[in-house]
């Protein structure tokens, strides 16, 4: 964690007055991000190596779309201890102990509205495929001996080059303003505790294939983890909000198939790498992902 991140958050919360003794805390501390809170102000240290100009362009999108994305408190990142730091208002996240209360409709509607917004010129590419490629590269480097690794690497190799971040996506797949890393941790109510839901985390936001943003719930559903009813709520709300990633009706899977396979391989790769480093077996959900990867490349047999 950058040494001065807490002080930075305090200064952002009280630009002109001494701190009266606010509630503070560390909300997240991972290799790719550290997030601290001071009263109603949040400071985020972005991943080491984050390009300041690209981050500034992504922040500008959030500042311009406060009805969709949580707007930053300052328009540009600050360099602190070699990291890019941004400040945000505090929001209330989805309760991880109650995923059944997940706001699927809000997530889908906000995503559809984001996808319908024309991307500003100069915005970098959405980083979804790049993150999937990084997860698979890490699996290959750190867990090549795990019995599931060959299964995942085969499923990865069967994906088209654009989904592996090796080529730009074909234009016919669409080029929309995308979040790039949509999951239930990317939603907060602002103002807390009962304001409207907003999307957070612009690190992967950019121009890309919009179906990528639907692919995580699609993958969870396909792997038998997300109940069909919750998947249908998400899908129905996205279509009701005229999200451009999917045809208005009919089978969504021709569009979802490649991104959902990529996200399944990504999540499975992260799970297998973590399990190996922790010296523990895969649990039921992780096995479901690996099994799905196995079916992606299995030869079709049977009598049909």
């Amino acid at each position: 964690m950058p040494a001065d991140l807490h002080a930075h958050a305090r200064a952002a919360a009280h630009p002109a007055a001494p701190c009266p003794g606010c509630a503070t805390g560390t909300l997240a501390d991972r290799p790719d991000a550290t997030v601290v809170r001071h009263h109603r102000t949040v400071a985020k240290a972005h991943a080491p190596g984050t390009a300041p100009e690209e981050l500034r362009r992504r922040l500008a999108v959030a500042a311009a779309l406060p009805e969709i994305l949580l707007p930053p408190l300052t328009p540009a990142p600050t360099a602190l201890d070699g990291r890019q730091v941004t400040c945000w208002p505090l929001g209330l996240p989805v309760d991880p102990r109650d995923p059944g209360a997940a706001p699927w409709e809000d997530a889908a509607t906000l995503t559809a509205r984001l996808h319908r917004t024309p991307p500003p010129p100069g915005l970098p590419a959405m980083r979804g495929p790049r993150k999937a490629a990084l997860a698979v590269a890490r699996l290959a480097a750190e867990a090549p001996g795990h019995p599931a690794a060959p299964v995942l690497l085969r499923a990865w190799a069967a994906l088209p080059p654009w989904a592996r971040a090796e080529e730009p996506a074909p234009p016919e797949l669409g080029a929309a303003l995308c979040h790039g890393d949509l999951h239930l941790g990317q939603l907060v109510r602002h103002p807390a505790p009962d304001g409207p839901w907003r999307l957070i985390d612009v690190d992967d936001l950019g121009v890309g294939v919009p179906a990528w943003d639907l692919a995580r719930p699609a993958s969870w559903f396909a792997c038998g983890l997300l109940p069909a009813e919750e998947w249908q709520r998400f899908l129905g709300a996205y279509r009701a909000a005229r999200g451009p990633a999917l045809p208005a009706d009919g089978d969504p899977w021709p569009v979802l198939d490649v991104p959902a396979r990529a996200l399944t391989v990504q999540t499975a790769s992260r799970s297998v790498t973590k399990a190996l480093l922790a010296g523990r077996p895969l649990d039921g959900a992780e096995e479901a992902l690996v099994d799905a990867c196995g079916r992606m490349t299995a030869p079709r047999t049977g009598v049909l």
Partner: protein, 88 residues
């Protein structure tokens, strides 16, 4: 009963509800009327491929009603799925 071929005594076994007479001498097997059809039916059930994925799901999806149970309620979410819902 004695084997119609070598006349050694035959023993009766029950396999998956099918009565089978096997000769203790030549190991030949005698089936009653309808038992061959019953065995054929059991065999085809055994060899049947996994049930297809639910409608509106990809070919690589979990079989409909798969053992992970996600399609039926979801209140038994594995703990790691709870984490997956909230992480990259």
């Amino acid at each position: 009963m004695h084997c119609p071929k070598c006349h050694a005594p035959m023993h009766t076994y029950n396999r998956n509800g099918v009565q089978i007479e096997q000769c203790s001498g030549c190991r030949g097997i005698f089936l009653d009327y309808g038992e061959l059809e019953t065995l054929t039916r059991l065999e085809s059930q055994w060899a049947q491929p996994a049930p297809p994925p639910a409608p509106g799901a990809p070919a690589w999806g979990a079989p409909h009603g798969g053992h992970h149970g996600g399609h039926h309620g979801g209140h038994h979410r594995p703990r790691s799925f709870g984490r997956m819902l909230f992480s990259s």
